[in-house]
Amino acid sequence: MYIEHLAVWDYRNFGRAELWPAQEGVTLLAGPNGSGKTNLLEAVGYAASLRSFRASPTASLVRAGCQQGLVSAAVRRDGRALQLEAEVLVSGRGRLRLNRQAVRRPEDFVGALLVTVFSPDDIELVKGGPQARRDYLDAMIVALSPKLALVAANLERALRQRNALLRSAGGVLRPGMEGVLDVWDDKVAEAGEALVTAREQLVMALVPEVEAAYRELGGREKVELHYERSWDGALLDALRTSRALDLRRGVTGAGPQRDELHFCLDGLVARMQASQGQQRSLALALRLGGHALVTRRQGTVPVLLLDDVFSELDGRRSAALAACLPPGQVLLTAAGAVPADLSVAAAAEVSAGSVFSSPPGGAHGPDGSEGVRDGS
């Protein structure tokens, strides 16, 4: 799939901006720091997921001084034209339209456009806490099988209820509370077992993809992914066993919310023992591996969004990435130089809230400059 045309109104630092990316290959968004390159990628990500990949609240996406903004994307998916429009509001939920028809439920809008995002923050996948890694898996589970979003939501709800019950008990279970805790144990176990099974199957499928991506990025170490459950045996039994401890702590100690995904390079723990460069390569390999998996399972190539990727990698790794970019549409931001052998299909110049990009066929940008550059 690819984006034919992106337009934003009153979005972040843009009053109005348009982008015509190349259908296939790299569209380079160049411009100085602070000009809004990442904002455009974020807008594409918003049209796909209705969330900012920078974890900004939706209200902050609206241009300062405005009450509402709009993201509109014309997408081609397997020959089918999709017109996505999502309002961003300072307060409340914005309206959504798909092919000019109002969409009431966000879940009917999300997933029409698939994207894979890599941003500099992704090094947290390797260096940061386990939550980032669990989120990485869960987001991909939903991308591969949208109905599993309900399993994750059910688990979160059941955990909140169980933890509220544990805290209200104040360490001791009053008579009569035990039966209520029993049913919330069941609910946590039911959703938890379903989610952990999905995560473990996903990790198994991801291993070869991440290994391949890491090798293509020039890494020589052997990559291992290892999912570790926070309990043994059946989750329901583990919840019963940990009940006394959970009551004292006021939180649920066993379940997918406490699991860990370990990364090793040549047997060394990547989080502690890998170099910065290796960690960056691994974070990128995790995204590209996931991208390859979604591509194969969904039968369509998600749009790849690479934010400021070359400033993060050394020369050797940058060149390797330029050489191994997967087929499909790639939107890439860069403030500085890009590797010499990066094949650029289209380029747009972003400067302080305006974008110079030309539709295919129209050769000149608004300032008369060449809007589309030929990378060959």
Binding site: P146, K147, L150, N154, R157, A158, R160, Q161, R162, A164, L165, S168, G176, M177, G179, V180, D182, V183, W184, D186, K187
Partner: protein, 209 residues
């Protein structure tokens, strides 16, 4: 901003469920502009509902107070006091409005039991906050042979149903317990059903020959 009585009216309206500050203001202005007798009728209706409506002592549905019939133990609702309703089948729901919804179907001829909510520790609702003790007592006392669980299909509703099933096991009576099916809405087309409803409808499929 406004004269005190106006602001008080807006504040009170704004405390109603589903009414935001803008709607509260609009309704308040509407009331102020309308004739005095319209406003009085509304006030009387609120008052009458509050004084004349109480909970049924049997099923905890809404019931109208009747001083002549009240012997100090409370009153029964229209359904519980109707001799044509089958006392051996109980339909368990979370809220009185669910009784209204099921009554509209006209299919159910038994009696109800309103739990007054669902298990939700987040909201401080445990078993003792619900009318569960009363439900268990009714099953024995009224000779109930079937209970239909009709709680909401969300996490709280299904946890409540699960809890009830376990409690029923401790009863010394033989009891048939059923749960309403989840499935396709009647009169709509298959393609408009969401994936989850469709999945559940397929799982709960029924043999026809």
């Amino acid at each position: 901003m406004y004269a005190t009585p106006v602001q008080e009216l807006i504040d009170e309206l704004g405390r109603l469920p589903g009414i935001g500050p803008k709607s509260a203001q609009r309704i308040a202005f509407h009331i102020l502009k309308s004739p005095a007798e319209d406003a009085a009728r509304l006030a009387n209706a609120v008052n009458a509902a509050k004084t004349r409506v109480t909970w049924c002592r049997r099923c905890f549905n809404f019931a109208e107070t009747d001083p002549s019939a009240d012997d100090g133990t409370g009153v029964e609702c229209d359904i519980c006091s109707n001799p044509r309703r089958d006392p051996s089948v109980l339909c368990v729901v979370e809220e009185p409005r669910h009784v209204v919804a099921i009554e509209k179907s006209g299919w159910f001829k038994g009696r109800y039991h309103v739990l007054m909510g669902a298990l939700s520790p987040i909201d401080g609702i445990f078993a003792e906050q619900l009318r569960i003790k009363e439900l268990l007592a009714r099953i024995e006392a009224e000779g109930v042979s079937e209970v239909i669980l009709c709680t909401d299909p969300d996490q709280e509703g299904s946890a409540t149903a699960m809890y009830l099933v376990r409690e029923f096991k401790h009863l010394p009576v033989k009891l048939k317990v059923t749960k309403v099916a989840v499935g396709l809405p009647v009169g709509s087309e298959l393609e408009f059903a969401d994936e989850l409803t469709l999945t559940m409808a397929l799982e709960d499929r029924r043999e026809v020959s």
